[in-house]
C-alpha cells in the first residue's frame, strides 16, 4: 500500500501559515480506495458487532472482556496495522491508519484501551526500543498476547510531566534499576502486562523503562471512579523497590522526555481521528432522534432551531476532518521522504510525527472540542431523553469530556502550538519574519479593490487574509518580545488567541482545499451542499478571527500602532458573509434526508 512516489514540495510543519497549498496536494476522505473501503468495513464490523453490543458489560469492567476484545482486534490485524511486518504488523500507510482510527471512534470508552495499547503503549518500544526489546515485546503486543500501558503522570506532575518524582537507582551490583514512586490515571493498568514507566535516574535524569507485570513491588490501586470512559481501566500504579533489569531501560538515560513527547505527537493526532469517528456516530443518533421525535404534530427535525444544531455539527466535523486528513497526508509524505532517504520504518515515523507536532497539537484541540460540541448538542436534541441513561447520548456526553484533558490538556496544546511555532521561527526552520514584514508593509499601502473572479476566489482570498492577520498579530507580539516590551511567557491569554487563530486557519484552508477538490470529483451530494459548508464556516471563522486578533492586539499594543493594527484586522476580515441561515438549512436537510451524518 506504500506508494513510492515522493513529492518534493510538501509543506513542512507550521508552513501552512506562510505558504499556499493546492487542492491536489491534500488527501480527502472521499478519495479512499477500494482496499481502504474494505478495511473501513472490517473495522465497522468489529466496532458494531463485537464492541458496541458489549458496551454495558465493558462499563461494568467485566473481568477479561477488554483483553478478549483487544485480541479479536488483533486477529483482524488491527493492533499492528501501523507496525513493521517483521514483528507481525501490517505496515499500512498513515492515511489508512487514520481511517482505521476514525472508524474505531464509535466504540466509546473501549477506544481508550485500544489507543493506550496501540499508541502510547506500543510506540515507545517501536521508536526507542533496542532491537532486542522490539523482538521481545512487539510481536506479543501486536498479536494481543500482551497488553501495554503508559505511566507518565503522577499525583504531583500532570501537565508538568518532567517534574516526575519517581526515582530509579542502579543496584549495587549494577544489574538492575530500583524504581520507587507512584503513577496516576494509568489507562489499561488493570490488565496490562507491560508498563512503560518514566522515572528519574539518580533523581534527576528523566528516563523511560519497560516494566513487566508481576515484578515484586509493583502494585495497582483500585479502579478509579470516573465521569466517563468507564469501559476503560484506570488505576494508580505503585512502585516500591521494583527491580527492573538494566536491559529494560528504554532509549538513553536522561532522554525520557524524547519518548514522552514524541509519543504524544502521534497520540494527539490519533485522538483527533477517534474523536471525529465518535462524534459522527453521536451526530447520527441526534439526527435520527430529531426525525422520530414529534412535537407540535411534526418531527422536531422540521424546526429551524434543531436544523441549526444539525448543520453546525456537520460543519465542525467536516472542517476538523478536512484538517485531519490533510495533515495525515503530510505525515505520510514525510514518512515516504524519510524512508527514501534511508531512514528505518520506525525512524521515519518518528521524524514525520515530530515534523508536524504543531499540527498534531492543533488537531487534538480541534477533534476533542468538535466532539464535545457534538455530544452536547446531541444530548440537547434528545431533551429529557438525552439526560436519561437509557439512551446513548448521556454516555457519549460523559465519555467525551476526557478528550480535552488527556494527551496534554487543550490549554497545554494551545500553548505548545504557538511556542513550537515561535521556536521554529527562532531556529530559522520557518520564516515567519519575512512574511510578517511583508504584511506590515501592505498595511501602509492602499487596499486593493479589484473584483475577485473565479470559483472560490473569495474564500481563497479570505484564507490568504487570515494568514496575514495571524502574521500581523504574532509578528507584532514577537517584535515587542524582541524589543523587551513583552514577555509572552507571562501572556498566556494572548497565546490562546493566537493558537485559536492558527487552528481556525488550519481548518478553514483544509476545508477550502477539500471543497475545491470535491468540485472536480463525482460526489455523493450536489456541490452546493459542500459550498454551503465552506461558506458558512469561513463566515464563522472570519468573525472569530476578528475577535481573537482584536483581543490579542489590545492586550499588548497602544496608540497609533494599535490603530494601524486594528485597521489591519478590518482589512483582513473582509469576507462577505454568506446567508448562513439558508446555508445551514441546506446542510441540515441533507443530513435529515440521509438520516445520518453523511459527509
Amino acid at each position: 500500500m506504500q506508494d513510492t512516489l515522493v513529492k518534493s514540495d510538501v509543506l513542512k510543519g507550521g508552513e501552512y501559515l506562510i505558504k499556499p497549498s493546492k487542492p491536489e496536494d491534500t488527501f480527502i476522505p472521499e478519495q479512499i480506495n477500494e482496499e481502504q473501503q474494505m478495511i473501513k468495513e472490517t473495522v465497522k464490523d468489529y466496532v458494531y458487532n463485537e464492541i458496541v453490543p458489549k458496551v454495558l458489560r465493558l462499563e461494568k469492567q467485566e473481568e477479561g472482556l477488554s483483553v478478549e476484545l483487544l485480541r479479536k482486534g488483533a486477529d483482524l490485524g488491527l493492533l499492528g496495522s501501523h507496525m513493521p511486518e517483521i514483528y507481525g504488523g501490517m505496515e499500512m500507510d498513515t492515511n489508512t491508519n487514520t481511517l482505521i482510527c476514525e472508524t474505531l471512534g464509535p466504540a466509546g470508552g473501549f477506544t481508550v484501551s485500544f489507543a493506550a495499547h496501540t499508541g502510547i503503549g506500543m510506540l515507545p518500544i517501536l521508536y526507542f526500543g533496542s532491537e532486542d526489546q522490539k523482538a521481545k515485546y512487539l510481536p506479543g503486543l501486536i498479536s494481543g498476547e500482551l497488553q501495554a500501558s503508559y505511566c507518565l503522570t503522577e499525583p504531583s506532575s500532570g501537565s508538568d510531566a518532567l517534574a516526575a518524582k519517581t526515582r530509579a537507582d542502579l543496584s549495587e551490583d549494577g544489574t538492575h534499576y530500583i524504581l520507587n514512586g507512584q503513577k496516576m490515571w494509568i489507562s489499561n493498568a488493570g490488565f496490562a502486562d507491560i508498563f512503560i514507566v518514566f522515572a528519574q535516574v539518580d533523581g534527576d535524569k528523566f528516563t523511560g523503562f519497560i516494566v513487566e507485570k508481576g515484578l515484586d513491588g509493583l502494585t495497582l490501586g483500585a479502579e478509579e471512579l470516573k465521569l466517563g470512559i468507564k469501559s476503560s481501566s484506570t488505576r494508580q500504579v505503585f512502585l516500591e523497590n521494583v527491580k527492573v533489569p538494566k536491559e529494560n531501560v528504554l532509549g538513553e538515560i536522561g532522554k525520557g522526555h524524547l519518548i514522552a513527547f514524541n509519543v504524544l505527537n502521534i497520540g494527539r493526532f490519533k485522538l483527533c481521528a477517534l474523536s471525529l469517528g465518535g462524534a459522527k456516530a453521536s451526530a447520527t443518533t441526534g439526527i435520527q432522534y430529531a426525525n422520530e421525535r414529534k412535537q407540535f404534530k411534526q418531527p422536531i427535525a422540521n424546526f429551524g432551531a434543531i436544523k441549526y444544531k444539525i448543520a453546525q455539527q456537520a460543519i465542525r466535523l467536516f472542517a476538523s476532518e478536512s484538517a485531519l486528513y490533510r495533515v495525515s497526508n503530510l505525515i505520510q509524505e514525510k514518512n515516504k521522504e524519510e524512508m527514501a532517504k534511508g531512514a528505518s520504518f520506525a525512524e521515519a515515523k518518528l521524524i514525520a510525527a515530530e515534523e508536524y507536532a504543531i499540527e498534531c497539537a492543533l488537531l487534538k484541540i480541534s477533534g476533542s472540542e468538535a466532539l464535545d460540541y457534538v455530544v452536547d448538542e446531541t444530548l440537547q436534541i434528545h431533551g429529557g431523553m438525552g439526560y436519561s441513561e437509557e439512551g446513548t447520548a448521556a454516555r457519549a456526553y460523559r465519555d467525551s469530556r476526557i478528550n480535552r484533558i488527556y494527551e496534554g490538556t487543550n490549554e497545554i496544546n494551545r500553548l505548545l502550538s504557538v511556542n513550537m511555532l515561535l521556536k521554529k521561527a527562532m531556529k530559522g526552520q520557518l520564516d515567519i519574519v519575512g512574511p510578517a514584514w511583508a504584511v506590515q508593509k501592505e498595511l501602509s499601502s492602499m487596499p486593493s479593490f479589484d473584483k475577485l473572479e473565479g470559483a472560490y476566489a473569495e474564500e481563497t482570498k479570505a484564507v490568504e487574509d487570515f494568514k496575514k492577520l495571524i502574521l500581523m498579530v504574532a509578528g507584532g507580539a514577537a517584535k515587542m518580545q524582541m524589543d523587551g516590551k513583552l514577555d509572552l511567557r507571562d501572556e498566556q491569554e494572548i497565546i490562546m488567541n493566537v493558537s485559536d487563530m492558527l487552528l481556525d486557519l488550519l481548518e478553514a484552508e483544509s476545508t477550502l482545499l477539500r471543497v475545491q477538490r470535491l468540485a472536480e470529483m463525482d460526489t455523493k451530494f450536489d456541490q452546493d451542499v459542500y459550498d454551503a459548508i465552506l461558506k458558512t464556516f469561513i463566515t464563522d471563522v472570519t468573525a472569530k478571527m476578528n475577535k481573537n486578533a482584536t483581543d490579542a492586539l489590545v492586550s499588548f499594543v497602544e496608540g497609533d500602532l494599535l490603530r494601524t493594527f486594528l485597521m489591519g484586522v478590518k482589512r483582513f476580515t473582509k469576507y462577505t458573509p454568506t446567508n448562513v441561515k439558508a446555508a445551514r438549512r441546506k446542510i441540515a436537510n441533507t443530513m435529515i434526508e440521509a438520516n445520518e451524518y453523511c459527509f
Binding site: 500500500m1 477500494e34 482496499e35 473501503q37 474494505m38 478495511i39 472490517t42 464490523d45 468489529y46 458487532n49 486477529d75 483482524l76 490485524g77 488491527l78 496495522s81 501490517m90 499500512m92 455523493k524
Partner: protein, 246 residues
Amino acid sequence: MKILVCVSKAPDTTTKIAFNADGTALNKDGVQYIMNPYDEWYALVRALELKEAAGGSVTIINVGPKENDTVIRKGLAIGADNAVRINSNGGSAMYIAKQIAEYAKGESFDVVITGKETIDENRSEVGAMLAEFLDMPFISYASKMDVAGNTATIDRDIEGGTETVEVDTPFVLSAAKGLAEQRIPNMRGIMMAKRKPLNVVEAVAFDDLVVPVHYELPPAKSAVKLVDPENMDELVRLLHEEAKAL
C-alpha cells in the same frame, strides 16, 4: 478438495429501493452493493473451512461487469484462493448458470456452492440449473455439511424440521443460514487480495429465455395507530371498520 463458490452482488440491505420510470429495472442511482450474504457468510466460509480442514482450493466465480470486481476482491480478502469473472452484463438465472457451467465443466470441481438465493430477487434458481448443466446432483437449502472422503452428509432445512442426506462428490449445493458463520476479512487478507489472481473470461453466447418485464414496490405501510389499553371498544371498532379484520 476443489471447491467453486458462486458469488453475486446485491444492493446493500439499507438501500431505499426504487425502479426506473417504466418499472423495468432497478434505479441504480446511489445504490451501494455488497456481496450477497448467503454467498459470503455461508457458501464461501463453509468452503474455506473445508479447505482448511482437508486441503484443496477455493475459487469464486461471478458473472457480471467490471464493477463487480470490488465484491469479488472481498471474497479473495475473506480467503478464496483465486477468482473468475465471466465478463457480461448478467441476465436470467439460466443465463448465469450457463456461463458458470461453461467455465466449471473443464475444471473438475468436487463441490460447487451457491447461496440459497440472492437477496435482491430471491430467485433460488441458479444452483439447480447449474447442476443440470453440469449433470451433477443438487442439494438445496443446506444448513450443515460435513465431508468424509468423497461423501458429504448434509442437513437440509425443510418445513418444520431437518432432512439429512448423503451425496458423493461432485455435487452442487445451495447454502442456507447455519452452514457457517460470517467471517470479517482481516487486514492481511485485504492486503493479500490484490495479489491473488482474478481471471476475466468472456461470456459465451446464450439467448435468454426469461426477461423481466415489470417491477413494482409493495404498497407503502400506513402509520401505526396506538390505542389506549383502557379503550378496547375503540380497538374493536378500528379492527372492524378500518382494518376489516373482524
